[in-house]
Subunit: 217 residues, 2 copies
DNA sequence: CTAAAAGTTTAGACAAATCTAAAAAATATT
DNA sequence: AATATTTTTTAGATTTGTCTAAACTTTTAG
């Protein structure tokens, strides 16, 4: 078994490499962990000793199959707990991240399988992210970022790639929640900010915000 | 905020002193924590510095009001999670202790208040132990230990004072679960073992087992 | 293609929680 | 009351995860 810290390193490495599958750099990990590069070097040596990652000096790290399986399991737990918090305890989608961050380290596969069943085997968490099943399999439907849509194109909001409370509350206020149909009506030349139609209401979002909204065309 | 370890020390000190309110000894803590006396000395100095306990060298420790409040809050969380596991996730009463031992350290009062509400504000956990409310108040109904009953006396099973899986499974097998009416039909001279009537079935338990069964006469 | 900048690792140190062995205090025994 | 036993504390060491400062690689830019 791993410590909470080791689990957090694995999870971060997983998130940093899941798109690209390219080696993850020490500094990138340090930034996400909120530690210094030197500390990361120490830890990745330890994880490499345990065969959870592959590490070559100065070349960054990649997850091994075992490491990836472990990381995905943590992600599974995180997302299931988020569903629980929203569906059963009536938390808002912007309130659950930090609590799930603690709950994800609770160590009982029996607990997680029963929680999954209690929640009726949800496929996605409150932010649209897919929930891996107990074998680590999940839909990897790739969505388009909203900033890629052109004027007059439209699609459904399927997820977000940023989980901060500030961001999610902002979307909430704009009515930009999961399942909504959005249509791009204009893109400003000046700063690229985007004008949208959501439920016949016209709203304006920055390019930065649009980047974190995932769309099914 | 405290570390998990500090929380565990407080909880153990609370359990060791809640009956008697007498100073708790270093060795007693060490035994419950599964550590050595020397480690306990180090930790109680730290807890004393934080004003969570009162410590005088060689004289054991007592909780301060703050320390007791903290300990009771951990107990509250533990027991609420146990109710959740049994009522919502269909765990058996002998399976929940270790998982609740982890969950009790999750740090969010919002989470606990919502969980309490979700469970409809239960008064007791699956072993009959009272659940403190959010102000730390709870029924301190004191029950009689089953070994104190004399022949022909009877009462209701209201709780157990031992939470090991082995013990609870044993009770389960005997049909000695919460709410059952039991009547002492005989007490063996030889070893003090007790013959009981439970739902018109005659069973036999050792004195040691009887000590851990709490009865309302 | 070399020099500067950026990124990474090493060395040595620290805090938390634990340990063993030895010393000191409290308690029990004769 | 003196001694033996038990309990507790101290001293010094270890492990985990972190740090700073300095050294070393790799990458970038002129």
């Amino acid at each position: 078994m791993q410590s909470f810290t080791e689990e957090n390193y694995l999870k971060i490495i997983y998130h940093l490499s899941s798109d690209t599958d390219v080696a993850v750099q020490t500094n990138a990990i340090a930034e996400k962990m909120g530690t210094k590069a030197a500390s990361v070097t120490d830890m990745i040596k330890k994880l490499a000793d345990k065969q959870l990652i592959i590490y070559q000096k100065y070349q960054g790290v990649k997850l091994t199959d075992t490491g990836r399986r472990t990381a995905i399991n943590i992600v599974r737990k995180h997302r299931l707990w988020e569903v629980f918090l929203v569906e059963k305890l009536s938390f808002k989608w912007d309130e659950v991240h930090d609590i799930a961050e603690e709950l994800e380290h609770i160590n009982s596969s029996e607990l997680i399988e029963r929680l999954d069943e209690f929640l009726a085997f949800p496929k996605n968490d409150p932010h649209g992210d897919p929930i891996p099943d107990k074998d680590g399999k999940f839909d990897s439907a790739t969505f388009i970022k909203l900033n890629k849509l052109k004027t007059n194109e439209q699609g459904l909001v399927m997820g977000v790639s940023e989980h901060s409370s500030a961001f999610l509350k902002h979307l909430e206020k704009l009515g930009l929640t999961l399942g909504k149909l959005v249509k791009v009506t204009d893109i400003t030349d000046f700063d690229g900010s985007i004008e949208l139609l959501v439920e016949s209401k016209k709203i304006n979002i920055s390019r930065e915000v649009a980047k974190h909204i995932l769309i099914k065309a």
